[in-house]
């Protein structure tokens, strides 16, 4: 009865448009009232949920991304990606994907990527003769590599939930992120050949070198973050703050495009974004505590294992469930609610936590571009001034390529675990 109340209130609250964090709080509150548990447990669990060491890095990485974004990196990264792959057929589509991959190494969220790259690339692609729906679709699809390639806000949250080091999580995302980018580039190229999309002229090695030099200080931030994590000289939090200071120096004094007047607003906006994520994490911690005390993870694992204990089928079931939930629910909330229950199931059939965490995050990122609730899809359709349906149709080939990569990462653990094992032993 209590568990029924928990889920009924949660789903009801989501449907009427109550923010996910509040829906989690309301459903937990209903459960506690029905069960007669004192409500002082809520502030305790909210506090404990936020007071987790690795979560301290979230505001820093958000700020670093926002400072870079306002400091003139978007055009530089696009210029470099264009010099690199723009001369191939469908070159601006490939540029879009390449820029998202580079951008993903600077920001940890997909929506920032979709808005920044989309703001420049979608009008540019339309002007160059690409269909608007394709331009929006390729931008939305490629933005999902942002939180796979390190740094990544969802991966930090997984680290907080599972105890896996953030460094290992970041490294685990690198190969799948590159694979996703590559698969989307192949898809884009095939579509471009079929539809005879234009190509940019080859501007020579000198332009490639100049474009690289221009984007170097932005791209170097990825190197700084990875070096900090691999060398062990800095914690993820320290890394995030150092990256913010670096982004400020590059934007304000190297590129000289970051207006100093705007910095306090950028800091406050980043703080509000981070606070909203952390409030969600805190309230989800109450919900998660209830799930664990009601032994829901064990019940889910028991139910699935009573149907099959074949690891291949279990991985498929987990992926289908995550894809389904990702279609309707906000990524971070879905991750917080489902990660621990599904981890129990994955471990029961011998899947390593690091491997599971990687394909779970990858799966939920795909949900950012699936209807009916796909934030990146909304952002890009908005920039292209299109209704959702043509963009949904145009994104289908990219969704397929992303799902193929998801299945590869799900069934070949080495794609996720090889690099972290190599680096961290």
């Amino acid at each position: 009865m209590e568990v029924f109340v928990l889920f009924a209130v949660f789903i009801g609250a989501l449907v009427i448009g109550i923010p996910v964090a509040i829906a989690l709080g309301l459903s937990s509150l209903s459960y506690l009232l029905v069960s007669g548990i004192p409500l002082v447990v809520v502030p305790q669990k909210v506090y404990a949920g936020i007071d987790v060491f690795v979560l301290l890095s979230i505001p820093g990485f958000i700020l670093a991304g926002n400072l870079m974004n306002n400091g003139g990196i978007t055009e530089r990264i696009i210029r470099f990606a264009n010099a690199l792959v723009g001369w191939v057929r469908g070159g601006l589509g490939l540029t879009n994907i390449g820029a998202s991959m580079l951008f993903g190494g600077i920001t940890g969220t997909a929506v920032a990527d979709a808005a920044s790259i989309g703001g420049v690339m979608i009008p540019g692609m339309k002007k160059a003769g690409y269909p608007a729906d394709f331009s929006a679709a390729v931008t939305a699809a490629s933005s999902t590599v942002g939180p796979i390639i390190p740094p990544s806000v969802p991966m930090i949250i997984v680290g907080a939930l599972s105890g896996i080091s953030v460094g290992q999580m970041f490294m685990a995302g690198a190969v799948p992120g590159l694979l996703m980018g590559l698969a989307m580039m192949i898809t884009c190229y095939v579509i471009a050949r079929r539809n005879n999309f234009p190509r940019e002229p080859w501007r020579g090695t000198s332009e490639l070198v100049r474009a690289f030099a221009s984007a170097f200080w932005a791209i170097a931030m990825t190197g700084i973050i990875i070096y900090g994590l691999l060398s062990g000289i800095a914690t993820p939090t320290e890394n995030a703050v150092v990256a913010s200071v670096y982004a400020f120096v590059v934007g304000a004094f190297v590129y000289r495009e970051l207006p100093l007047k705007k910095v306090p607003k950028i800091i406050a906006d980043s703080a509000v974004s981070a606070a909203s994520i952390l409030a969600l994490v805190g309230l989800a911690n109450v919900f998660g505590w209830i799930l664990v005390s009601e032994r829901i993870p064990q019940a889910i694992a028991g139910t699935v294992l009573s149907i099959t204990d074949n690891p291949i089928l279990v991985v498929l079931i987990i992926n289908l469930l995550l894809l389904f939930v990702g279609m309707f629910m906000e990524t971070i909330a879905a991750l917080i609610i489902l990660f621990v229950p599904l981890l129990s199931l994955a471990q029961a059939v011998g899947i390593e936590p690091l491997h599971f965490a990687t394909f779970a995050v990858l799966n939920l990122m795909i949900g950012l571009t699936t209807p009916p609730v796909g934030v990146c899809l909304f952002v890009c359709a908005g920039i292209a001034r299109l209704p959702l349906s043509p963009v949904v149709r145009a994104i289908l080939p990219f969704l397929l390529s992303n799902i193929i990569v998801l299945l590869l990462v799900s069934f070949i653990p080495a794609l996720a675990t090889w690099l972290p094992n190599l680096v961290f032993g």
Partner: protein, 165 residues
């Protein structure tokens, strides 16, 4: 309506100033930690101060997140409804938020009182001050949720406020 908008602006100003200060404290504490380690030992209080700054930043920012839409919701059903329903549901969502915060405030105050018995290990700060952040979180959530409901009822375009923020 002007009074409510003015009250909203004042509250917004103080909360934004608060999150800015909390974030700056976090940044300075972490940099002190990094620089301290580079020259020898880091001060012991930096890690604790960073955590407290993060919690206060969350408390002060959550209401602003509710107004700006950073506190995400699933609005597909809501937006698909005809006529006044999206607005009615918007108000209902705000009131539900206010209800949650109101119910949880007494428990949160009890949690503040529990903190009077403890001190933080590194800074020897009374934990009631730290626990107060959760009380503040629910209090600000209540105030912003009520304002959001009133502004929606008064047909004030909240997205307009978001952009200005």
């Amino acid at each position: 309506m002007k009074v409510i908008l003015k009250a909203y602006r004042v509250l917004e100003f103080f909360c934004r100033a608060g999150v800015f200060i909390a974030f700056m404290v976090l940044i300075i504490a972490v940099l002190t930690q990094v620089l301290g380690r580079a020259v020898g030992d880091s001060p012991v209080w930096t890690e604790e101060l960073t955590r407290f700054a993060l919690i206060y930043m969350t408390a002060l920012g959550v209401g602003l997140g509710l107004m700006s839409g950073d506190l995400v919701n699933v609005d597909i059903v809501c937006d698909a409804l005809p006529g006044p329903w999206p607005r009615i549901l918007n108000v209902a969502a705000s009131l539900a938020t206010a209800f949650l915060a109101t119910i949880l405030l007494p428990g949160a105050w009890k949690y503040v009182q529990i903190g009077f018995l403890q001190k933080s290990p590194a800074m020897a700060l009374q934990m009631s001050f730290v626990h107060f952040s959760v009380f503040l979180l629910f209090l600000l959530l209540l105030v912003f949720a009520v304002m959001r409901a009133v502004l929606t009822l008064l047909h004030v375009d909240i997205s307009h406020l978001k952009q200005e923020a």
